[in-house]
């Protein structure tokens, strides 16, 4: 019974027009409801508006019209600081380009969200250490992020996105820059950690293999939702 589940993200008639000459409408009247604990993939061709959608859900950008609710709060009513607090408390991001801080080492990158949140140093260390162990990077903790492989970078990013225990993890083509072995590792870490903690996950992906492992697939085409399918026979186990 889906309707009994708690809604964590909701979009109502959301439009996004990028200003410019000429202006470009990337999303058209999007209605969407996402429930607690769902593992979702958003698929669609390049330029169809997937990233735009994810940025709006993650409070990184504002819609031109329509309403977005994150955990029941109306995003349009929030000021910049409240948006920042929402990002730090409830949302984790993983990007295709890793987006690690080049001036910080592996440990400090994973620790960064806790620093921003104001968690005392003594409490930060065990949390970071444990996550680094889970993603198998304990021995790289002191390395600069420019000195490790792509797969390792994305594992750092995954650890960082989850260190704050977010309610929602948004991953924008997390394996887009990785070979297949590293891709599998990264996806497995995300699935394992998020299912353990009941975190809602939204993957934006081109990879049908990843989509096959999600219970709900949303297909976007030219800024509109073309289909939104719940698959019954989702393989909810490791990729291999």
């Amino acid at each position: 019974m889906r309707s009994a589940q708690k809604t964590v993200l909701k979009m109502e008639k959301v439009n996004k027009i990028y200003e410019g000459d000429p202006p470009f409408q990337a999303l058209f009247d999007i209605n969407l409801e996402i429930h607690e604990g769902e593992i979702i993939s958003i698929i669609g061709p390049s330029g169809s508006g997937k990233s735009t959608l994810l940025h709006l859900l993650g409070c990184l950008d504002k819609p031109t019209s329509g309403e977005i609710y994150v955990g029941g709060s109306q995003v349009s009513k929030m000021n910049d600081d409240q948006l920042a607090f929402t990002r730090r408390e409830t949302i984790g991001f993983v990007f295709q380009a890793f987006n690690l801080a080049p001036t910080l080492n592996v440990f400090k990158n994973v620790e960064l969200p806790l620093v921003i949140k104001g968690v005392p140093p003594a409490e930060r260390k065990p949390v970071v250490d444990r996550l680094l162990e889970v993603v198998g990077l304990t021995d790289k903790r002191a390395s600069m992020t420019t000195k490790i492989s792509g797969g390792q970078k994305q594992r750092v990013a995954v650890a960082r996105s989850l260190v704050n225990n977010p309610k929602i993890l948004l991953a924008d083509e997390p394996t887009g820059n990785l070979d297949s072995k590293s891709s599998d590792d990264v996806i497995n870490f995300i699935l394992k950690l998020c299912q353990e903690r009941g975190i809602t996950v939204i993957f934006v992906t081109h990879d049908p293999r990843i989509a096959a492992h999600t219970e709900r697939q949303i297909r976007i085409m030219d800024g509109k939702i073309e289909s939104d399918i719940y698959s019954r026979n989702t393989k909810r186990r490791d990729l291999r």
């Binding site: 990184l60 600081d81 801080a101 910080l104 969200p113 620093v115 104001g118």
Partner: protein, 401 residues
Amino acid sequence: MKDLEILELAVNSIRYRSLRSWLAILGVVIGVASIISLISISTGLQTQISNQLGGLGANVITITSGGGQAQRGGFGPPDANTRVSKPLTFKDADALRHISGVDKLDARLSGRATVTYHNKNSSLTVTGTEPNAFLQSANVQIAEGRSLRASDTNVAVVGYSVINRTFKADLLNKPILIDGMPFRVVGVLNASGATFGGSDNAVFIPQKTAMNLFNQTVNASSIVIVSAATSTPNATATALTNELLTLHHVTNDTQDFTVTTAASIQGTISSAISSLGLFLGIIASISLIVGGIGVANAMFTSVLEQTKYIGILKSLGATNGEVLRLFIFESGLVGLVGGLLGALLSFGASMLISNFGLPTQITPDLLFIGLGFSVIIGVVSGVLPARNAAMVAPVEALRYE
């Protein structure tokens, strides 16, 4: 985020700054170095001159004839009531002797005279002084021999240079002639080293003998008073002035004598040097402002280079205010580093300036001011770029490559 942790992030950013943005802090380095070394010149001059003025003695007050601008405290045109310069007299001196605040009084009579030793002549200033006041009023010490005594007549005490430069002979206990009158040298003074009010080139003889020598028993050349410890030189000077105004039947405006204290001379010279210091300071400030523009430029570069990082921080939930502080701290730190390097450089620069003969002195205050200035310049010039950084929309920042 706590400020301390923002500061830590700022330190981290600075460590990985590009060479280009480091080069821009050269402006601050040079600005601070020039501020410190230029001001060190005026501090050095100040110190040097107050050392030289030390020869005057802090509690010594000198009265000379002629209207004094020092008393009027200005450089205005002379009064229309032409001041007929009325000389100071020994009678004046006697009237002043008992004023409260006067410890010793020395009514002097001096003039140029030809001093002869063996066959060598030299024109020197010969001063008739009251033996009991002499050492204090002239602020000198005896190096060899003895001072003048009240019972002395044709004896002289000579300055250090008279022996070591003028005659290059040990005159102690030797006979000399002053304008043909025979004297015996009984004492030699310590070198004073002072440029102003120095005694090194002088010859001192008893006042009474000088009256004979110069054939003058009425008018004194100057009256020198040693202020008592129970009074201040200024208070004593005021009392002396008031008494003399009455004696001479003049007012402040028609005053025909000048009362000078060591402090008033020092004050006049100090304020001239201060103006010089201010002028040098302004020049140096201009170069620091130019340096500040350099920092601002470096910060704009730094913000641009770190746009992606700003996006990352924001995606992780950093607020605009936290990003703003991060960049302000960064520019403040750049200012501090530039200031420290500039301070180091200023030591070298002031040593170089000293070699050219200008005295320099770098005080802790000066270093502190230089550093404070550079931090402020850093922060101020970082505000605008930091504001830009803080206002970038997260998506835009993340898209930046």
